[in-house]
């Protein structure tokens, strides 16, 4: 178990170093960093002075090492677009994205798992057929089209819910939350529904497939043959076996949620990191792009490692002895 943990952490560090390398190359080779720091009519001597001050005259691997060291402390320099520290920009935007993604992830689990169980236990009922049909649509619709439809129906035609922004937010330290005001909560509804819809259908289908698979196993038949109640068979014996693979996939999909938050934030003009990233992409603002890339990669890596560990904790076959875990 400890060996497994260490292996995973070393692997994660390598992934992060690779990502940092990409970010570093972006910095180093996209545009001349000196240009953004000196006056347009600067002399060659002035430019060389800046170059030296930035350490750009040193070997690449030294520069890379410095870059990693600075990135590790969260220092990505100034945004080329509005000359503010990138870390400040991201910190301002982070809570909005985090709340959106958390609500969407929670919704998709909270609805997806029960619906998956329901459709697995009653495969022929009308409600199952209906749900299956809608989940097919949910998987095929481009997310931004879903968002537009939601706005069209609930904001434009019905006028029930806001179509942009976060509503009123309350600052708690550096974190701004929309959870504490009615307008903040109302503003969350449509974006989180749009963001969770794809995940929701995915989880529902996954839980259904896994559950049906598990219900066909010998140990479930044997549990029936021992006269255990349906409740225990479905929710104790089957569900636990079903959820282990579901957790893994969910962890991987959480990364997808963060990526698709970019689209959601654009549709709903949500002031999150995704919207910031899109601006950076369209202006070629390297520091912001690089920092976003590193931050999101870090989140992915942490999630993936956590999921692997969780998997090991949940599945007794992996938990008991690390030596046999490889089997």
């Amino acid at each position: 178990m400890l060996g497994f943990l260490i292996r995973r952490i070393i692997q994660s560090i390598f992934v992060m170093l690779a990502v940092a390398l990409i970010a570093f190359m972006m910095f180093r080779f996209m545009g001349d960093p000196v240009n953004s720091l000196v006056a347009e009519n600067a002399t060659v001597e002035e430019r060389d002075a800046v170059r030296e001050r930035l350490g750009l005259d040193q070997p690449l691997w030294v520069q890379y090492g410095r870059f990693v060291a600075r990135a590790a402390t969260g220092d990505f320099g100034l945004s080329w677009r509005n000359a503010r520290p990138v870390s400040t920009l991201l910190a301002e935007r982070f809570p909005a994205t985090a709340e959106l993604v958390l609500v969407a992830a929670g919704l998709s689990l909270l609805l997806g798992i029960p619906l998956g169980i329901l459709t697995a236990l009653r495969p022929h009922s009308f409600s199952t057929q209906t749900l299956q049909f809608f989940s097919l649509i949910g998987i095929s619709l481009p997310t931004f089209v879903t968002g537009i439809l939601l706005i069209l129906v609930f904001s434009v035609w019905l006028g029930w819910l806001p179509s942009f922004g976060r509503g009123t937010v309350v600052d708690i330290g550096w974190w701004s939350t929309g959870f504490l005001t009615l307008s903040g909560l109302k503003a969350l509804v449509l974006p989180s529904v749009m963001l969770c819809l794809f995940q929701l259908t995915l989880i529902m289908r996954l839980v259904r497939a896994e559950m049906m698979e598990v219900l066909r196993t010998d140990y479930i038949k044997f549990a029936r043959a021992r006269g255990l109640t349906n409740r225990s068979i479905h929710f104790r014996h089957a569900l636990k076996n079903t959820l282990i693979p579901v957790i893994t996939i969910f962890g991987l999909q959480l990364g997808g949620l963060i990526a698709f938050a970019i689209v959601t934030e654009t549709v709903f003009q949500w002031p999150g990191m995704g919207a910031l990233f899109i601006q950076a992409v369209s202006f070629g603002d390297v520091p912001v792009m690089a920092a976003y890339l590193v931050l999101v990669s870090l989140i992915f890596v942490v999630i993936n490692t956590t999921v692997d560990l969780l998997y090991a904790v949940l599945d007794p076959r992996l938990r008991v002895d690390g030596a046999r875990a490889a089997h």
Partner: protein, 322 residues
Amino acid sequence: MTILTVENLTVCFPGRRGTINAIEDVSLSVSAGEILGMVGESGAGKSMTGAAIIGLIEPPGRIAKGEIRLEGERIDNLRPEAMRRLRGRRIGAIFQDPLTSLNPVLTVGEQLIETIQTHLRLPRSQARERAIDWLRRVGIPAPEARIDTYPHQYSGGMRQRVVIALALCAEPQLVIADEPTTALDVSVQAQIIALLRKLARETGVAVILVTHDMGVIAETADRVAVMYAGRIVEIGEVADVLTAPKHPYTSGLMASIPRIGERPETLPQIEGAMPRPHARPEGCAFAPRCPHRMEICTRERPEPRGTLTRSVACHLTEEVPA
């Protein structure tokens, strides 16, 4: 004392190509402490008979005809909830593959205690005592420690012992053991067989032992029912059936067991294959493969002659065997 009687049991599966009878007119009985072997090729209907008795036929299959009585009381028409209470409490089941029969994410103790508490009103501490006691009875060493471990920490033979404990822990009167040794190593098979016999003697549980292995029957069972193409073709005391088989199919099965001492060049084999359920011939299902086939055999199906304890379904047997 007779625990279970089955009379003229027919299980059918409605399908696209019409309704198929998986088993037809199966009649048998089994008494307390007795081991009834059921033998036949795969697809003969042995396991289906067991599934029908325990009320776990997979839909759309259903009992089309016949009666199943447990201690004289009909159980084939019970409502699902009543049947569930009966399973495990009065009829236990042992499955073939111990590697897949146990839930991998629950400890052996959790599975035992849950089964005990489902059927017997016992506080958890007593249920646990009882679980440990059952692990001891099936021969698990150090049961107090092993009760809290997971199935994957047991060997195949040990897991089958756990399966047996699970089947018997609520003390049913009847247990259906479906190929309990098939998935095990030969050396372990004998131990499991011995354990089953010991438990049958000690607890008085009636056992229906489903197997395709005549050797297992010879070692374990008191009586044997031979199934072919969904029907019982011969039933009787093991000693009688093995030494003096009346049905040509039984004779063929007997001849295919290698005996220690004899070293035949090739094992005698019954020519041909058992007809599939939707392609059974009109008369005796065994007729196409039967070395003693007569004209009547392809025309008329032989009815079982004799008593519930010794009967044969063959035109060769004119009279009730002694």
